[in-house]
């Protein structure tokens, strides 16, 4: 004779696959309150619960497309801000470069015992810094582009500029 455990497995198979209840299971359900309760719990659940859930979630109809719009705008604003930061970084680098270049130039003038190769290299760097500083207008996109090209040419601050893109 089957135990309640076995009958409940049969009930589950019925619920899963829609197989018909066997006469033996029907007889058992008539006698056993626990198995009947098990059967009733899951058998009626679909229609009743779905209906109840629809009622419960009716107020969650407020859709959030407008929020998607807002978030998309935020992303765009962030991207714009990133470009501004990149420009500011470029400007800052130029300022630092100009200042350090000036310092180096003064040093070259004052001190004569540097390695000639290093001096030559640094002189070129300093000259470039001064050249580029004359071209820079921080608010102008073309100047940023010039600065960007220059930074790439001399292999400087690539890491800082990263994937800096011009609009």
């Amino acid at each position: 004779m089957n135990s309640c455990k076995a009958f409940q497995e049969q009930i589950q198979n019925f619920l899963d696959d829609g197989k018909s209840l066997t006469p033996e299971l029907n007889d058992h359900l008539a006698e056993c309150a626990t198995c009947r309760n098990f059967y009733n719990t899951f058998h009626g659940m679909n229609a009743k619960c779905k209906n109840e859930l629809n009622k419960k979630t009716k107020n969650i109809q407020k859709f959030v497309f407008e929020n998607i719009g807002k978030k998309e705008n935020k992303v765009i604003e962030f991207k714009k801000a990133s470009v501004s930061y990149a420009r500011a970084t470029a400007a800052a680098v130029i300022v630092v470069a100009v200042m350090s270049g000036s310092t180096m130039l003064l040093k070259f003038n004052d001190v004569g015992d540097y390695d000639p190769f290093i001096i030559a290299e640094n002189k070129q760097f300093v000259e470039e810094v001064f050249n580029i500083s004359c071209l820079i207008d921080i608010d102008s996109e073309s100047s940023v582009e010039v600065a960007n090209e220059w930074f790439q040419d001399i292999g400087l601050v690539e890491e800082i500029l990263g994937d800096f893109e011009l609009n």
Partner: protein, 184 residues
Amino acid sequence: MLSDIKLIEQFNNGDNKAFEKLIKLYDQDVNRMLYVMLNGNSDDINDVKQNVLISLFSSLKKFRGDSSFKTYLYRFVKNKAIDYIRRNSMENSKLLSIFYIKNQYVESPEKKFIEEEANDEFYRHLFRLKEYNKMIIFFKDIEGKSIDEISSIVNRKPGTVKSDLHRARKKFHKILSEAGYEFM
């Protein structure tokens, strides 16, 4: 009515309205699922729903049509909900959920109160199950999905889903029985 695939095509061609139409088709399905997975907490539901929509908006291009869009959407919502639950340690949410249930009927008429209290009691018991168990009971016994469909959503073999489901039902029935709850 346009098919899901057609709407996805239109969206991928730049028609954002098609996305709205597509999502609205499954709005209630998503709501029901999130209600069960997030223990009926409306703040959590709205948070996850927003995450789902925003992520889906940018990743729908990746949909290859290997399954139906509805299955894809369920899988997407499931992943977002589970991420959210993990991130936010649902203990707080469970407390909020009980608070929410206890407070939302303060002004309801007595009859409605009793009726809804009983339904809420049922869901409160359902919420006591672990996320996975809750989810498979939701899909099979509330949504009426087939074992194969659930298997595709939860990414487990049908045989495994079936035995998981049997165990989950027994656990749920035990919880209900201990609480003296009878499903009429």
